[in-house]
Amino acid sequence: MAEDIKGKLERYRTAPFDSRFPNTNQTKNCWQNYLDYHRCQKSLESKGVDVAPCDWYKRVYKTLCPISWVEKWDGQRDDGTFPGKI
């Protein structure tokens, strides 16, 4: 499983089609991947497992999200005012 993810990360070109967000507006896609990355990190860290598989979500949200959004959300997470559930 981790080897598949490593292989996929090496062959990564861009965010793949996500059938949950088929339309032009990809806002929710960006938001969902950002949340998934941090949830994955939190969950795998608490289990003591290597967090490398979470990097898939990180690549996807870095592809999709505007940098200003990511910086804003990171600041909110540090302040504790982040509106999403992680």
């Binding site: 996500d18 059938s19 949830r39």
Partner: protein, 81 residues
């Protein structure tokens, strides 16, 4: 409102097509809104069912008319949580 429309329609029968298109358009928009509300696009219950779009298989068709997509795609993620 429909009473007024009926009276005006009797006095000026040329208005009837306009009323028909108006009713058609408004009901079409309303029905599509209901379709979106019932589907997995909106979070109605934040505590019990947040993110209902995550609960379906990746082959579920979200669009009404899907012309070009082949829906046998695979889920590309690191399974966790």
């Amino acid at each position: 409102m429909f009473g007024t429309m009926y009276q005006h329609g009797k006095k000026h029968p040329g208005l009837i097509p306009q009323f028909c298109f108006l009713i058609l358009g408004m009901s079409g928009a309303g029905l599509y809104l209901l379709r979106l509300a019932k589907g997995p696009h909106v979070t109605w219950n934040k505590t019990n069912n947040p993110e209902p779009w995550n609960k379906l298989s990746p082959t579920y068709q979200y669009k009404l008319v899907a012309v070009n997509t082949d829906y046998k795609s695979l889920k590309k993620e690191g399974p966790d949580f």
